[in-house]
Symmetry: C2
Subunit: 265 residues, 2 copies
Amino acid sequence: MRNERASSMSTPLAPQRRRRADRAREIADVLRRQILDGALREGTLPVENALIQEFDTTRNTVREALGLLRDEGLVDRVPGIGTFVVCEKYPHGLNTLLGLGETLVGHGRVSNEIRSAGSVAAPPAVARRLGLAKPTKVVYLERLRSLNGLVLSLDLTYLHPDVGEAVLAEDLAANDVFVLIEELCGQRLGTAEISLEAVNADPHSAALLQLPEGAALLMVERLTHLEDGRPVDLEYIRFRGDRVRMNGLLSRPHLTSPGEEDPCR
Amino acid sequence: MRNERASSMSTPLAPQRRRRADRAREIADVLRRQILDGALREGTLPVENALIQEFDTTRNTVREALGLLRDEGLVDRVPGIGTFVVCEKYPHGLNTLLGLGETLVGHGRVSNEIRSAGSVAAPPAVARRLGLAKPTKVVYLERLRSLNGLVLSLDLTYLHPDVGEAVLAEDLAANDVFVLIEELCGQRLGTAEISLEAVNADPHSAALLQLPEGAALLMVERLTHLEDGRPVDLEYIRFRGDRVRMNGLLSRPHLTSPGEEDPCR
């Protein structure tokens, strides 16, 4: 018998000759997408025999693929009955700057539990990002955000004092901060620098988000500017990985250097 | 003593009156960003006393914040000596469509271990996304991708047969597939639909990515089109959450309906 690892390092295996775990991942990924897109809805996952045929594979491989999706909390399996989609991941737009309530319009009502709100001395790193000379105060806001009563995210927000104090007087439980800022400043928001990571939930954040410790979170840092360029809103957002995904459309950049011009065009 | 939970449900706590775990997360988030941006480099994390002053907090809270960053693998703490940054997360662009080698230009050399490569019967869901009538074959490619010898991602790729067969004949270990497709097709890529999630690594994927089971992964599904609109490349990518983050710039959408026009402009 050949050494699998050594062989995979040298010559690629034919797709059909791979180990069951590799094939199971491949199948799970295709099914995952169909589940997330709503092509497979609750109670309608194809029966094993159909999946065996669809993916040209064995029963054990299909079962291992379904096991991966179950471990992720996307499906539930009832022996003798079938496999059921049990999870919905809400799509958060990646192309335009929208508040949570705005991006989830049509999915239900976003509500906010305000965990903390008030003025704080700005840590120097926060002051710098908000374009403030130190020492100064900023407004700090901490919200646990839910859609239709299901917790989606924990948001830590630092607001520029020019707008922050006024935001504090508004109904933060029912409104996106973005909308409030635009109303109060009398101008639209412009752009936001966004940074996205996957992190494991620490025990305390996990408890707040009603997740087991170590659950995968989509962690977003976002610095939002007014249309005139002033930074106003610095946020650290932990999204539940099992309830939120980000969707966007990317474009291939135009070639800039004449030396890099595509010879085929 | 007041009931903390009940009180946080009704009246928000002043930022200064929160529990230590809440303050620690807040501080860890600000430090995390400084680490990721390279503002705090290896061996240069401020000493505890400086952090206590910077964040206007207690020694125990600073230690808890550093503990969160250590548990994430971003820093290491040597008692009596200090805290050291031990991790670098490479920035993957979110605004333009680039291959891994292209987006990490300047960070080092991307190499690819080809785990599998060849023709397979397209699962119906894959065929549909690639705009193919079934039954048909597609080219399947599985790569473990590294930067300077450090594993970054596991990529499962389905290529349209028109381009896939030709791609298979190229040097896949040293080249981005995007670049090969453009060379072989004689046209640039156009746009890609991207979907991003945070998931916990299953045991087999974790082993390939040299991570502990359950580690947070940035999971990307990406369907890439040629400039003429034809879909050619469907990918399922698992990025190591501790080594890759996504950076982008979002713009506030323009108001379209006259009824929604901003009255302040």
